[in-house]
Subunit: 256 residues, 2 copies
């Protein structure tokens, strides 16, 4: 957690005006550079290395849900905020870090390493297709499709489209789609913070492109939480919830 | 065509090493800045304003196919190359220009202005969904879905995904999907030119997400041309071809 050490020791903290109900945000500053918005309730400056190493080992038993949420958020956000303060226009490293971080945690829970391609069981075209992380959990288990994004914006339709391709190649409901995203916060020009969400479009994608099984966030956007309670019922929850339900997600079983 | 005047009068020309069989590319240079690769056979420095005004009016009768290809390519590429030479990191203006340029030409052929949203004929959710350009050609005609991109890269799955949403909302084959793109050229670090193409992925999208009716390019990539001749038979052709077939595309008729 050298990132968190840097933020604790070298960076200043500035509160931001939150336009998101019931959430508060601040940012780090180091000289002229400022970080992305950080959720005050989810970022825990006192996190120590041993706690982070525990979750990296997948050893989450006995960690309270709220504590696990903070550990996950603080670990991922420390890297991203440090990059914001130390690099110029580096949008790629935070995405790559978050993909590896999340892929590692999910692989730990499933006990299987992911692959980045799928076979194309077709009559006369190519044999493999590049994909996001996919997991083969073995006989009697679902397969997993795991797209990972720091934020989704308008690119999110890719997630449903790739799920549709997997459904088409291998049959509907053969792959369970789990999207893991960090946040949808946006720092506006006046330094206020909003969440950029398109819940109506997500509903249309879930109805007409494919069905995602879970959407996990480190900082769940308010407007996507609502999707849990209304048709077509997209299951949106904190990523911490995955650790308690990974076994039931893995198990192939009849639809409820 | 102030862009073309600028390029003719102020910019230098440098040949590029083409790694694309049977195509030659050059670039413009102005001081330290260089343009994207430009197809030597399709860019016509002698194009004059009156010819461009003719195609902007949709008055293409009597213009030979090869001539129309050059007029379209030169008009669009002049703006993009000028932006490359006069702006820093402006990727948005060329895209916006090409969208308006193409949308205007297609609207001229169909005699109808496009819209940027579609109704959602659903039981209990929102009434409209934002889209790429869509055209309502009236009774007895197809509707048109017109995504427009300077190049497609990995974002192209969006095109098939949005076609799938329209198929889901309004029925398969109600909207004919026409993608218009400029090129897939990429200038590498050694100043050679390649075309970045993923024909195997396009085939999978056409098989499992939705069916695009036409893919038009100003500079048709070689590897996508091949898709015309092999299952699932994606129809890829020069954008100039649209002007000769817009009437048959508009007319609702049984599938062949």
């Amino acid at each position: 957690m050298t990132g968190l050490m840097f933020l604790r020791d070298k960076a200043d903290v500035e509160d931001l005006e939150s336009k998101v109900t019931d959430k508060n945000y601040f940012m780090f500053r180091h000289k002229e550079k400022t970080s992305r918005p950080i959720n005050t309730d989810l970022f825990d400056r006192s996190v120590d290395d041993s706690a982070v190493l525990r979750i990296l080992r997948g050893d989450v038993d006995g960690i309270a849900f709220a504590e696990l949420q903070k550990l996950l958020y603080t670990s991922a956000m420390s890297y991203c905020a440090t990059t914001d303060l130390t690099k110029t226009n580096d949008k790629k490293s935070p995405g790559t870090f978050f993909e590896i971080f999340t892929g590692h945690l999910v692989a730990g829970q499933f006990g299987v390493n992911p692959e980045r391609h799928t076979e194309v069981p077709s009559l006369d075209i190519q044999n493999t297709l590049p994909t996001d992380y996919v997991f083969d959990l073995g006989p009697g288990c679902n397969r997993i499709h795991l797209p990972i994004k720091t934020s989704t914006r308008e690119r999110v339709v890719q997630v449903w489209a790739h799920q549709r391709v997997l459904d088409g190649l291998h049959g509907t409901n053969r792959f369970k789609g789990l999207l893991v995203a960090m946040t949808e916060t946006n720092k506006q020009n006046d330094s206020s913070v909003v969440e950029v969400c398109l819940p109506g479009q997500w509903a249309v994608y879930q109805m007409y492109i494919a069905q995602m099984h879970r959407i996990y966030y480190l900082d769940v956007p308010q407007k996507y939480s609502v999707l849990n309670n209304t048709y077509p019922f997209i299951h949106v929850s904190p990523f911490a919830a995955f650790f308690g339900e990974s076994e039931s997600i893995a198990k192939a079983s009849p639809l409820a």
